[in-house]
Symmetry: D4
Subunit: 214 residues, 8 copies
């Protein structure tokens, strides 16, 4: 499609490839991009209804995950998965964002276990799994509401914490603002953050960190 | 002073007496209130410079604490202090607010130990003192920045947590907004909150709870 | 369900049990939690449509109240109801939140009368029932719009006021922001607040207060 | 001064004369306006330090009130004062704004009693003076913090309530935002509002109402 | 309905009767109020779909206007309409709010002409009708977007201007915030404002002004 | 100074030269830039106190205007001034920003008359000078408070309106937010805006427009 | 339709004609305007569903573009298109707004090429087309998310940049706020901005600039 | 000092040591911490005036940098500096924050060159140094105003970008909000951010990344 200029060189230049953000694109635009793709491609924020509106052929070419709203064109990558990243997730409501991060990592060749439902209201759940988390080189922490998980984690592990505030919450935390400001204001140094619900961006940052690890 | 109508019946009616909020009053207005007082009186938000501008006589009558900006007219109350309340404080920067709460409790006859510098960046500091905190009937929790202390505490103790967000912070937490939204959005049920820096109000709420305990 | 780690010890540790916040969970996730429950369970923010999407068996096990969007698994608790809490409600539009509070109290064994439609635009309605309210040990006050009820109540009774701002309002009070800031800025000391529409949280705080009353 | 074009016809056209808002004008600009004035003139938001920086001659010509930061050039108006307006004020901290309203009314020939310190934390204070207030044709209500006074008053009297939220408050009510949103969201119909701390504007509106009362 | 306590004395006490705000009430609650009404009644914010959900009998009793979302129970009032109020409206998109104001005035016995589509982008449209507007005793001005109409009008007429910002707008004026801040910040004194889209409240204020005109 | 890299090619590339924004630079940094300058230079937001802190030699080289906080190094440009731009200013409090715009235009060789004190509260003042304004090719409109001037002007003239909202105002218009949202939400098409108090930026935009006029 | 007063003189007076903003108008209102039109007319923000609700006759008279939500009554204008304006667009998601601008320009007789998908994440895409852009007299730049395109462009070309922030984004950039604040805060002088998604307004400003170019 | 509990184990546990945030601490508190320190210590946000208020002895022990407001107790660390981090800075006004980052890195044993004044208004300045930047393993990017630098950089290099928005700006970017939202909304994946002006936090995150690089 003439209006869409894929930046195929992006991965070589920046370490992560261009993904197709589907939220504001029509089904026709998405089909056009998929049809013209010359290599593997990641699609994000592809709502279930929009996926259903794609042609059968297009859908057949995509590995779609409705929970994380991601799709992959071109199958799994080559080689055995790289390690070092992990996703820690406060509540089950945060799982869609956690999975977007894990799927983005997988697309780029990195395995990423999800440690789920370890919010701070019951600290013992986090403590039960803290050694597993301490083994990671980058921790993606996903939490909504007040986002206390970010600070607690940063006080316990050596790896950098990439916070992903989620839009899970209501009233003053509606839309994720409370969790975002918690990530930014953490009393524990070493927390960095990405935009609300941006599991994709957190994974890209983790990949960049891991790529420079060699 | 004719413009100031002290609500002397307030303590009998509501359990806590009227205090004089000095921040927007002139030194002359404050002196007038003190001179006309017919019983013990608590003054809050009395800045050190405004206190210094009061007459020698007026200052002589007041027990002034510059850190918490509180002053008491009429000396300590009668009887041995009542117990059940305590103040838990995330950082040393939060101490002025913690002391405002403790001094308000003391004015009303309640002893209130301050457990200081137990922020979540080093969880072991909180854990070292958790049994002491578990013995309280009301916990006033004072924290700025991201206010993660509120949720962590609420997941660990039975007593209600009265959160006091403080204005300690900068950038997105400047003025206390991040800590306030954390208190309101806590994933751990049983946290209630008062306005930013309102140690006085938290103490009044604690007194009301303890008064109804009998 | 493997992603959901119920904190069954929470009630013993904190005085209130873990509830299942249904708003961001799928019907499948909810069914899984209900099926795996080993004791009584409270579900909140369960919209009527999501309830309708549950299996017949699951629905049969739940006592569902569509107005408050709460459901209880496991029937009423044992023993005669404990007293001391009450819910005061400004307008009929605030009733869903008031009922969420009352149902949460009931789940934990506390009776809680609702005093409805006593907003300050017609003060006589509140005054007619003030003696009844003065007999309570904790007052949960539920109001939207400008939330003037919180301050008026706090000036009239000895019990602590747990304010629940509601999202009833439009324009500048849309979403509950005006009522929330009224609760936080009350000129009458002793008001504490929870998040907008958080009847559940207010009830949990009240339970913690009443539990420590012995 | 050539850059300042006084709208001398404004009073004839709109019922209220042009006033000189001094906050963003230099002492030199103010002197120039005063020197060139061909009739009586009201100056608002004239801080005490800026007044002190005016020439002796200029100051001699002005009747200055430091509390309300207003000054009048040209002495009291002719005739006996008109009645019908009154100013009701929640706390002593709100008096500067209340006086700005009363002085503006006086400049235009209207007497306006101030009913001070009748905030809703002690309702009996308001009730003691409610008959006096019911006799007014326009009520200017001045309150900071949560501004509950606006709704309570509007539920008790027939006259329109012109709310003036004040910047008295801290935390979430800092700068007057909470009181302003209370005025706008009042559950009691008939409240109108002006900008925060705008006692002058409230008085102008009251004058316009009274002028059309013929 | 037991939860709804109509304040039948409100009109005698405050000059305007209680109206039923339908937005957050169920059809069942509305029917119950209508069925129990012992005198004329005004219903506001009654959406067309909710009106359609009422019983045939209930609908038959109501004079419903879908544009303004208002309904009147009990027919037109007695006597010939009182004069003095008028509604000035910036654009056709603001008409629903303008009609809510006019219908509220009519319910209380006041005729109120609507001067429509006189926004300031074409000043000549306003100037063509300015003499008609100058004859009014209260001007209700209804405008969305930037709300420049409020200031322009206030500089041209003697009557008080009751501004009603509307939610017509997008981007920074979405929801009415820009028009509201214009009304509050007007450089022309004598503008008072009500909440966004609150045509009902503006009419109530106008009625209170006109009632005290005698 | 090694940390400061002047973009000397900017004027050739973009039509306007790089200016030195002094607000966050130390006096030492400013002196260093001035000493190293190889051609004419404009300095903006140079507060009077910071100017006073510069060396005598540096001050001697600068043509400083304290009202607009601008300074010019290198004297007036060559040739007779170009025409087409003008600055229209709502109130005398807005003059500092209007002068920043006019001084920036002059630095680049454009004459720009200032039409002052023509705010909409007295429309006749604007109408008296409207023909003069209609002759301009670009109108820079400077206004604080509610910024109604932007829309009124845009409805009257053919030239584009570059709005400069100013920080003149208090309460809801404090800092210029109300005027800015008015500029963005104008009902009259053809208004573009720059940041609050950014007279410099408005002038740069005007210069770019005039440069492409040939 | 009597409530709608078309300002037919607007184009002669201001350089751009009145357009019909359809978003808050009913289909009936729109039909009425179209039926009564005495010359060519532009309709904006006409959603596809609302267009479908118009009568067949009305739709037949309109040239409708669903992507930009614009419709033109009266066919293309006379004469060959004028040149000088162009639209530069960061991503394919911004195309609807870019097309609204281009269609508005076309309605007024100006050709405007769209340079699409040149966001700064891959600078080479912009650089490939920079000479084409440098030839324009006015650049309309359309971008959502963080809006970095505005500053980068303004540092590269001589023409004025009219920024159109779009509502493409989520989390902190939801609704366009981040792109808008980028446009206003640009470090590159000469950027002016219009409201979020206001392609129409940007085109009107460009037309005014080009009209004064003669 | 008994209220201050240094978390001496933090570096071993989390990779970065506890620093003393001086902004809300009194000179007495700071002296007490310094006197009690048993190892090297970093102090941040130590304003020049507060530093001057410390005792001569205390000042003698500290290596103080007034520009970055940092002080180091205990001299430079052992060993030759580690490499891999660098600080890229948009303007000279952002240097204090850039230096806070560089000094924090140095305290922990990492050399970090500062690439200054490469803001996007003159892209060639950045391009001149891009190869040097491409050699880094972590890039700390410091920018105020609209923060376009973050996205441009992220599109050009492989290393992760840790954005530090600064409070340099006015109007809509006052306090750093615009730069922060740009960092969060970047169209170029791989940008993570810390709080406004938090050079310390960015350095801590970089250290954590580099520590896991082995």
């Amino acid at each position: 499609m003439s209006d869409f200029v894929i930046d195929w060189e992006r991965e070589r230049r920046t370490g992560v490839g261009e993904a197709v953000l589907c939220e504001w694109k029509s089904a026709a635009q998405i089909e056009s991009v998929v049809a013209g793709a010359s290599s593997r491609l990641l699609l994000t924020r592809l709502a279930e209804e929009k996926h259903a509106a794609l042609s059968l052929e297009c859908r057949g070419a995509l590995d779609f995950d409705p929970i994380s709203r991601t799709a992959v064109l071109g199958g799994p990558g080559d080689g055995s998965p790289l390690v070092g990243a992990g996703v820690v997730c406060a509540g089950t409501s945060d799982l869609p964002v956690a999975r977007e991060a894990a799927r983005t990592l997988a697309f780029h060749g990195f395995a990423a276990p999800i440690v789920a439902d370890v919010g701070v209201a019951g600290l013992w759940r986090l403590m039960q799994r803290i050694e597993e988390i301490r083994g990671l080189d980058v921790v993606i922490a996903v939490a909504g509401m007040e986002g206390a998980l970010f600070s607690v984690l940063a006080g316990l592990v050596e790896a950098p914490i990439v916070a992903v505030p989620t839009s899970v919450g209501y009233g003053t935390s509606a839309g994720g603002a409370a969790a975002l400001s918690s990530a930014l204001s953490s009393c524990a140094p070493g927390v960095v953050t990405v935009n609300i619900d941006n599991g994709f961006g957190a994974a890209c940052a983790a990949i960049k960190m891991l790529r420079r690890r060699r």
